[in-house]
Amino acid sequence: MSDKKEALFSKKNLKLVKDPLDDNNPITVQVLGICSALAITVQLKPAVVMALSTFFVMCTANVVVSLMRNMIPSRIRIIIQLVVIATLVILVDQTLKAFVYDVSKELSVFVGLIITNCIIMGRLEAFALANNPWKSFMDGFGNSLGYALPLIVVAFFRELLGAGTLFGYPVIEKLGLYELGYENNGMMILPPMALVTCGVYIWIQRMRNKKLIEEN
């Protein structure tokens, strides 16, 4: 097989990581996994934890499914993928509960809902089932970074403008802006502003990256 001769970090493999960051971003271009992205971006901390959890689940699931890809009967592949993801998610959930209980409470159902995150299922279906473990790992790595990037950018602005803090640290207060009459923007905490911030992210991305603009 030609795959085996390929270098580990060949251009093709690196593209698997780079593509989802911009050209084929799961959130801003494919518009998948939006619900979790909107729900947990009020503050940076849960967003980062969520990104890490998804990172772990996606990379591992991709590798596991890729290893089993020749054994899985195609009729029941979805349920097998679900079992793999669900197992991993429970691991993550238990770990969070054990070590960062307050964050796990904040994330509440959304950790469990990683199981149904369409990005993960999509990568398993579209990639891991047809590629070797190393490539699948690269793909999972790239896509989870692509998921994390908008998540963290949106959470950064929502927490900074909405609550005046970053990771709970009162940035605005330390800068002394409140004394000048500045006030937190209560709307940034509300769900609609997650959509708007996400939309602005997409807008800026498409302004920079002309490839994304459809011809019509």
Binding site: G181, Y182, E183, N185, G186, M187, M188, L190, V196, G199, V200, W203
Partner: protein, 382 residues
């Protein structure tokens, strides 16, 4: 006018192709067409021609807004001196209010137009005149005490997210002026509702002045309606956003809009009918004091009349079929009163009702067009 023409002619070469400031042509074009009716002729196809273009019709709306604006200025002064417990001349009150409102209007225009010009120059299209009206509407529907920077942020949000992302004037889904108010309302609730904000410089006024709007008072049950209050509400000497209070002044504006054909009488009328209808239903129900408010009182309280005349009639965001205008207007009236009575957190339902129906207007239009097509096809078959 000749001075302006000569001035424009002398700077024109700089902005035309090959000139030094070619990039700024949209800005030049905006000033030229603002002052003079443009001399462009249509190059392709045939169009219906009318001497009145968008800029001219926007000026008519501004003129229609003036009675409410001036009344608002007087009212601000009147309330201020009333709260102080001092007697004051008509002109003292008026000039006090005018001085208080001027910064709001200036900030709204300067910030909004800066954003508009920036977008026009960046995208290379003409500066759209829609902001002439929006820029005046925004300060008129804000409380007088709103900090200027909040106003500026709301304006920026409204122009960029409410309008420019959709492609500028004529493409927006939501009314930009109401977008600004809704943004301010949810972002800085302490400055858009409550009883501390409707009187200017309230902190300087000795205690004992209730500063809640009549709507808030009715919602909390602090006020019982008596029939002599109606004329006060109708004339507009009550607390509220800068220029929304006087139904009388607003109706003068409505007459100007309807006579000039710029505002749709269908929308205006059906909003009032819808509000009356809902108020009447609540009257029959009568579960609490607020529901017992006579239906005609709803129409003169808060921003109901202002919204009906100047917001619901916005040609871009309203329904574009005649039947649609009636349906959408009616629903605006219904929802406005519904939100007022059922949700004490939002004593002013008009803003939310109009924004909601802005979203649904294209859907209403769609079904009306489909029904029309179907009917005509059937006629052809028969």
């Amino acid at each position: 006018m000749k001075i302006f023409r000569n001035l424009l002619n002398s700077v024109k070469p700089h902005f035309e192709e090959g000139g030094k400031l070619q990039k700024l042509y949209p800005a030049y074009d905006a000033f030229e067409t603002f002052l003079f009716v443009p001399d462009h002729t249509t190059k392709t196809g045939s169009h219906i021609r009318d001497a009145i273009d968008l800029k001219r019709s926007m000026m008519t709306v501004i003129i229609a807004l003036l009675p409410a604006l001036f009344f608002g200025m007087w009212n601000i002064g009147n309330i201020y001196y009333g709260a102080l417990g001092e007697e004051a001349e008509f002109f003292t009150k008026f000039s006090y209010g005018a001085l208080k409102m001027l910064p709001l209007i200036l900030v709204s225009y300067i910030v909004g137009l800066t954003v508009e010009f920036a977008f026009a120059i960046y995208r290379g299209h003409q500066v759209n005149e829609g902001y002439l009206v929006t820029g005046l509407l925004i300060p008129m529907i804000m409380p007088i005490s709103i900090p200027l920077w909040m106003l500026a942020v709301s304006v920026i949000f409204a122009v960029i997210i409410g309008k420019e992302v959709f492609g500028g004037t004529g493409m927006n889904i939501l009314n930009p002026a109401l977008t600004a108010r809704a943004f301010a309302f949810f972002a800085y609730p302490a400055h858009l509702s409550g009883d501390k904000i409707w009187i200017s410089e309230q902190q300087t006024i000795p205690d004992g002045v209730s500063g809640a709007t009549p709507l808030a008072d009715y919602a909390s049950g602090d006020l019982v309606y008596q029939s002599h209050m109606f004329m006060d509400y109708f004339n507009g000497s009550m607390l509220g956003s800068c220029s929304e209070t006087s139904t009388f002044a607003i109706l003068i504006g409505a007459a100007i809009l309807i006579i000039s054909g710029i505002g749709s009488w269908r929308t205006i009328l059906s909003v009032f009918v819808g509000g009356y209808f809902m108020g009447y239903l609540f009257n029959l129900w009568g579960a609490n004091e607020f529901m017992n408010l006579p239906p005609h009182v709803h129409l003169v309280l808060g921003g109901f009349a202002f919204g009906a005349v100047f917001m619901a009639t916005d040609p871009v965001t309203a329904s574009s079929t005649n039947k649609g205008k009636i349906i959408v207007g009616f629903l605006i009236g219904i929802f406005a009163v519904l939100i007022r009575v059922f949700n004490p957190a939002y004593p002013e339902g008009m803003m939310l009702a109009i924004l909601l129906m802005n979203v649904f207007a294209p859907l209403v239009d769609h079904y009306i067009l489909e029904a029309n097509i179907k009917r005509r096809l059937r006629r052809k078959k028969a």
